[in-house]
Symmetry: C2
Subunit: 255 residues, 2 copies
């Protein structure tokens, strides 16, 4: 069971969109996937068609009360893909966990209870480096970093890498960077090209060859509660995430 | 001295871009403006050309140690516009303040020390509803909500309004909603039009008539440390923020 955190403290860079679509493509490819929503906004939950308001137990009970997650997992429209949903109560978790024992390892202990039920666990993180993201990084085998091709997003990258190193040192020696995925790439503007060149220069092979273009279908799909491959299989958004997952799973090794 | 918080827990909706450009247009219009950066990402600080790494005292010392902010204010390239800079240390403030006295009113007490030095104080918030944003809402006379014309952004709006109501009830009876500003509007796609129609239907006159279009110059300007009116005065990004400030200050009342 491989656990992958989707993290970047910069807001709006495509974390949830990547978490949903990576999960869905892996699932249609026959892998058993759990999508864990660690963001109180619950976008990964609603983006997969699950209404967080209708649920009485969510990841909040798992982290704060130590309840077993297997009872809270919800099926989705995609076969082989289940969601461990979030709720807005999670916003208080940061403060509620501060004085609790092993506050950083709550998610890791919970996912240990699901061992071998899934091939992949994909964890969507909120836009911060607080306790919820730390829990995700402490539980994960690797972290995938979506990076919007813009200046502010690039600025925050060094700080994210520094946090990942500290987590590896103090909480999770196994944690590696699975890669940096360039998102919302706009071929028409120079800024995307400049940011791509800068990131590839600094991070080399850590940057996936596949780039996700800006594509309005990707932002329409969540309002129907569907991943892109169910909403519009023929758009560039779908093909770029399919291509990405092939590179991600090592099917194609682009050099 | 009017204090305005720029808040929305959804990430990447244009909070910092609005904070910087609202501040700059007000300043060139002759108002004395302080831009307060309450986000550990320090994007408003670097977006105005100030390097947070070179500063030894920032808003962190103001909030945690209660130091007087007037010694930390930094001038910018724009006359009449100063910045109270952030730093990455601020990321720890949430946890550090949890058990402190009057943890929600630290910013309010600090800004009281600057009374009548400025006409406007614009506070940029991080993408969360945690203690840093609560401090900004507790100190503010009103809150301006940038809203990206996309589904996930719309979904979070009800929760933000709920939080604003609770702050008004328990911490700051004066807090009002100054308005909702639609950002990154793309005339070519239906999603923007649909979201606009939905928001105007629900929130009526709370939604500014001026809409900020998606404009690549707005995302290029921060890499030069300049607000849009110094980077490219003739682009649609500049004219839309100038138009917005006219509506914001009541110069034009569009109906
Ligand atoms: N490649 C893309 N092309 C066009 N729109 C996109 C693309 N990827 C994501 N979006 C849209 O951009 C917005 C931001 O993406 P998303 O919500 O996935 O980012 P995030 O990093 O999860 O945000 P947050 O920091 O708030 O959690 C959403 O409205 C989403 O639908
Ligand atoms: N109208 C616009 N047109 C094009 N790009 C924009 C526009 N407004 C903002 N941007 C760009 O979009 C990205 C997100 O904007 P910004 O950083 O201001 O949002 P934010 O809400 O402050 O994000 P965070 O939640 O991380 O604080 C930035 O790279 C910015 O340069
Ligand atoms: Mg998200
Ligand atoms: Mg910002």
């Amino acid at each position: 069971m491989e656990i992958i955190a989707i993290a970047n403290q910069k807001g709006g860079v495509g974390k949830t969109t990547t978490a949903i679509n990576l999960s869905a493509v892996l699932a249609v490819g026959g892998r058993r996937v759990l999508l864990v929503d660690m963001d109180p906004q619950a976008n990964a939950t609603s983006g997969m068609g699950v209404n967080p308001e209708l649920l009485d137990r969510t990841i909040y009970e798992v982290l704060i009360k130590g309840e077993n997650p297997s009872g809270m997992v919800v099926p989705t429209e995609v076969e082989n893909l289940e969601v461990l949903p979030s709720s807005k109560d999670l916003a208080g978790a940061e403060v509620e966990l501060v004085n609790e024992y092993s506050r950083e390892l709550r998610l890791k202990r919970a996912l240990d209870k699901l061992r071998d039920r899934y091939d992949f666990v994909i964890v969507d993180c909120p836009p911060s480096l607080g306790l919820l993201t730390v829990n995700a990084l402490a539980a994960a085998h690797s972290v995938l970093v979506p990076l919007q091709c813009e200046y502010f997003a690039l600025e925050g990258l060094a700080r994210l890498m520094h946090t990942i190193n500290r987590i590896r040192e103090f909480l999770n020696p196994e944690l590696s960077v699975r890669g940096i995925l360039l998102t919302m790439y706009d071929v028409r503007n120079n800024l995307s090209k400049e940011v791509e060149a800068e990131v590839r220069r600094h991070f080399g092979n850590l940057v996936f060859q596949t780039v996700i273009p800006r594509n309005v279908k990707l932002s329409e799909a969540p309002s129907y509660g569907k991943p892109i491959i169910l909403y519009d299989m023929n758009c560039k958004g779908a093909s770029s995430y399919i291509h990405f997952v092939q590179e991600f799973t090592g099917v194609i090794r682009e050099e």
